[in-house]
Amino acid sequence: MSRIAPEDAKRVAELARLRLDDAELPAMTAHLERILEYVDLLMEVDTRGVEPTAHAIPLATPTRKDEPTGELTPEQAIANAPAAEGTAFSVPKVFDDEAAG
C-alpha cells in the first residue's frame, strides 16, 4: 500500500515552503515512502497508557525578570539582512501586482 503519493509530497512541500520540481518529485516521494514504510515498525508496540516524552530530562521552565539583557542593537540585527531599509528588513509584496489587481 502506498503511504504517500506524489501529490501528497507536493502538498507537504507547500506547507513547508519548499518547491519540488517534476524532476525531483518521484525520487523524493519514493524516499519518503521507504522511510514511512520502515517506521511502521512502531505500530507493533502497544503504547496504550504510555505518556509521551518531549524532553528526556524534565526541567521546569525557568523564568527571569522581564528586563532587557544584552540584546543586539538594531544595526547588529540587520547586518546580515539580504535587503534592508534603514534598520528594517525589506521584503517583496505579500501579493504580486496582478493578484493585488
Binding site: L41, H55, A77, F95
Partner: protein
C-alpha cells in the same frame, strides 16, 4: 615539525617549561590544516590571523604568569554550526552563505575565557543532518585512515581534524550520534554529554530536545579537560541543567574495581552488525573485566524501535527549527521573485540540499493533521519506553558497553542512494539522545585496518563515570595511540 601532538597535559607541560610556545603550536596546526586538512577537506574556514593573534596573547599571559586554564594557548577546531562573533557560520549549507554571526555561542565564550585558540571551522553534514559528511555544500571530508571512505558524520570534519593530528581537540555536536559515530570511524574519542550539560546557546538548532555539543580528542583524559571547560549552567539556554561546570578531569583515577558493566543483548544480536566489530568490542569488555569490572548481560527490549522513533522526532523538530531560514533576516535570498511566498519557497528550495529537504518534508508530514497521533505522538511514547528500558538496565549496572556503530567506516557514496540505509548506521547511538544519557566512543582496535568504536553509556548526569571507564580502558590498552598512515 611533523610529529603528532601529545596529550593536552603534555602540551601544557611543554608550554610551562618553555619548550614550545602557543605560537609554535598554532603555526604547526595551521600548517597541517593547510596541507593535510586541505587534502581531506576538513575545513570550511580557517582563521589564521585570529588564531595567531590569540596565540601571541596566550604566550604573553604565560610570560606574565597569568595563564587562564589548562587549555590556554591550545589549538582546536569547532564545527561549522557553532557560532563565533564576527566569523562566518554556514552549517555547511548554501542557505547561510555570507552569514557572519553577531554573537558568540556560550561554548565559544567559555573557550575564549579559557584562552583556547580556535584555528578554524570544521566541515559537517548540512545542518548536522547525515552520518557521513557527504551532505555538505562543500563536498565530503575524507577519512584519514582510508581516503576512499567516509569519516562518519555529521561532525566528520571535527573527528578527521583530530585523527589527522591537525589539532589535539575539537568540538562537535551530537543529535543522534554525530560526535560518537565519526569518532568511531576516525579512531578518536568523542563524547556526547548528558542533555543540558553544555549550553546550546549559539549552536544552530537541528532537533532541540536531542542536540548536545561535546568534545572530540585523542584520549578520554583530553576530552575531560575540554568538557570541564565548556560545561555548566547557562541562563541563555532554557534547557541548561542547573548545575555548576563539571570537574571530571581530576576524577579519572583508572579505578574500575567494583564497577558493573552491562552488555545489552539486543545490541550484540542486531541484524547486519559486522561480526568483526562485535568481536573487537567483546575483547574490550574482557579487558575491562580483567581490570576489575564485573560484566553482566542486560536487556533493552525496545532497542529495535529507536531509529524509527528518532527519525520521526528529530525530523519533526527540524521542520520547525529550519522554518527560520526564509531569506528575510540573514543568509541567501532568491532573486527576481514576485511575492513573499515565492521568496520563501525559492530561497529554501535553492538553499537547502536534498537530505535537509527530505527531513523537513518528513517532519512536516508527521506533524500534519491526521498523522500527528500516528507518527509523532507514537514516537514520543516509544521514547518513554526507551527511557524506561535504560532505567531498568541501570538498576543492575553502572554503565553500558556497546559497539558505537554496526560496521567500520563505509565507502564514500555507498549509502547516499538510499537514505534509510544511512539512517540505520545510527542504531547504537540514537537511544542515548532520546534518553538524554551521556555517551562516549573510544577506539578499541582495528578490523581490517579500520578503527572500531567502543561506546560507553551512563546514567543521566554521570558524565564523569563514562569518562572514568573510557580513561581506565585507555590505561589498560593503547588502541587510542594507533595512527593512520602518513598523510603528508
Amino acid at each position: 615539525m611533523t610529529e603528532s601532538f601529545g596529550s593536552v597535559g603534555d602540551l601544557r607541560s611543554a608550554l610551562d617549561a618553555g619548550q614550545t610556545s602557543s605560537r609554535g603550536l598554532i603555526e604547526h596546526a595551521l600548517e597541517r590544516a593547510g596541507a593535510v586538512g586541505e587534502r581531506l577537506s576538513v575545513f570550511v574556514d580557517l582563521q589564521n590571523d585570529q588564531a595567531l593573534a590569540a596565540a601571541d596573547a596566550a604566550d604573553a599571559r604565560r610570560a606574565a604568569g597569568e595563564t587562564h586554564s589548562p587549555l590556554d594557548g591550545i589549538p582546536l577546531v569547532i564545527k561549522d554550526n557553532i557560532v563565533q562573533q564576527g566569523e562566518r557560520a554556514s552549517c555547511a549549507s548554501r542557505i547561510l552563505e555570507g552569514y557572519v554571526s553577531p554573537f558568540d555561542s556560550t561554548v565559544v565564550a567559555k573557550l575564549r575565557a579559557a584562552g583556547a585558540v580556535v584555528i578554524g571551522r570544521a566541515n559537517m553534514d548540512e545542518f548536522a543532518m547525515g552520518s557521513s559528511t557527504e551532505n555538505s555544500a562543500y563536498g565530503p571530508t575524507l577519512n584519514p585512515w582510508d581516503l576512499e571512505r567516509s569519516p562518519g558524520g555529521s561532525s566528520g570534519g571535527s573527528a578527521a581534524a583530530v585523527a589527522a593530528d591537525i589539532v589535539p581537540l575539537a568540538l562537535g555536536s551530537d543529535t543522534g550520534g554525530s560526535i560518537r559515530q565519526p569518532a568511531a570511524f576516525c579512531g578518536v574519542v568523542g563524547m556526547k554529554p548528558t542533555y543540558g550539560r553544555v549550553s546550546r546557546y549559539g549552536l544552530v538548532a537541528f532537533a532541540s530536545s536531542l542536540d548536545q555539543i561535546g568534545p572530540i580528542g585523542r584520549s578520554a583524559a583530553d576530552c575531560a579537560v575540554l568538557l570541564d571547560a565548556i560545561s555548566g549552567h547557562d541562563p541563555q539556554d532554557s534547557t541548561s541543567l542547573p548545575e555548576p561546570a563539571l570537574t571530571t578531569a581530576s576524577t579519572l583515577t583508572g579505578d574500575i574495581s567494583g564497577l558493573t558493566i552491562g552488555l545489552p543483548r539486543e545490541y550484540f544480536e542486531a541484524e547486519g552488525a559486522d561480526p568483526a566489530v562485535l568481536e573487537t568490542v567483546r575483547t574490550a569488555a574482557s579487558a575491562l573485566e580483567a581490570g576489575g569490572a564485573k560484566l553482566v548481560e542486560v536487556d533493552l527490549p525496545h532497542a529495535r524501535y529507536a531509529v524509527a522513533a528518532y527519525y520521526l522526532i528529530a525530523t519533526a523538530e527540524a521542520s520547525s527549527n529550519l522554518a527560520r531560514f526564509d531569506g528575510v533576516r540573514y543568509g541567501r535570498r532568491a532573486e527576481g521573485v514576485a511575492n513573499l511566498k515565492e521568496l520563501y519557497e525559492r530561497t529554501r528550495s535553492e538553499g537547502f540540499g536534498d537530505e535537509v529537504k527530505r527531513r523537513i518534508l518528513l517532519g512536516t508530514y508527521v506533524l500534519s493533521a491526521g498523522y500527528y497521533e500516528a507518527y509523532y505522538r507514537k514516537a514520543q511514547k516509544i521514547r518513554t519506553l526507551l527511557r524506561r528500558d535504560f532505567d531498568a538496565a541501570f538498576a543492575g549496572c553502572d554503565v553500558l558497553l556497546t559497539p558505537t556503530t554496526p560496521e567500520t567506516a563505509f565507502r564514500l557514496g555507498e549509502k547516499t542512494e538510499d537514505p534509510l540505509t544511512m539512517y540505520l548506521s545510527d542504531i547504537y547511538t540514537v537511544s542515548a539522545n532520546l534518553a538524554g544519557l551521556p555517551g562516549v566512543s573510544l577506539p578499541c582496535g582495528l578490523a581490517e585496518g579500520l578503527p572500531v568504536g567502543l561506546q560507553v553509556l551512563g546514567r543521566p548526569m554521570e558524565d564523569a563515570t563514562v569518562l572514568r571507564v573510557a580513561d581506565a580502558y585507555q590505561r589498560l590498552a593503547d588502541h587510542h595511540l594507533a595512527r593512520p598512515g602518513d598523510l603528508a
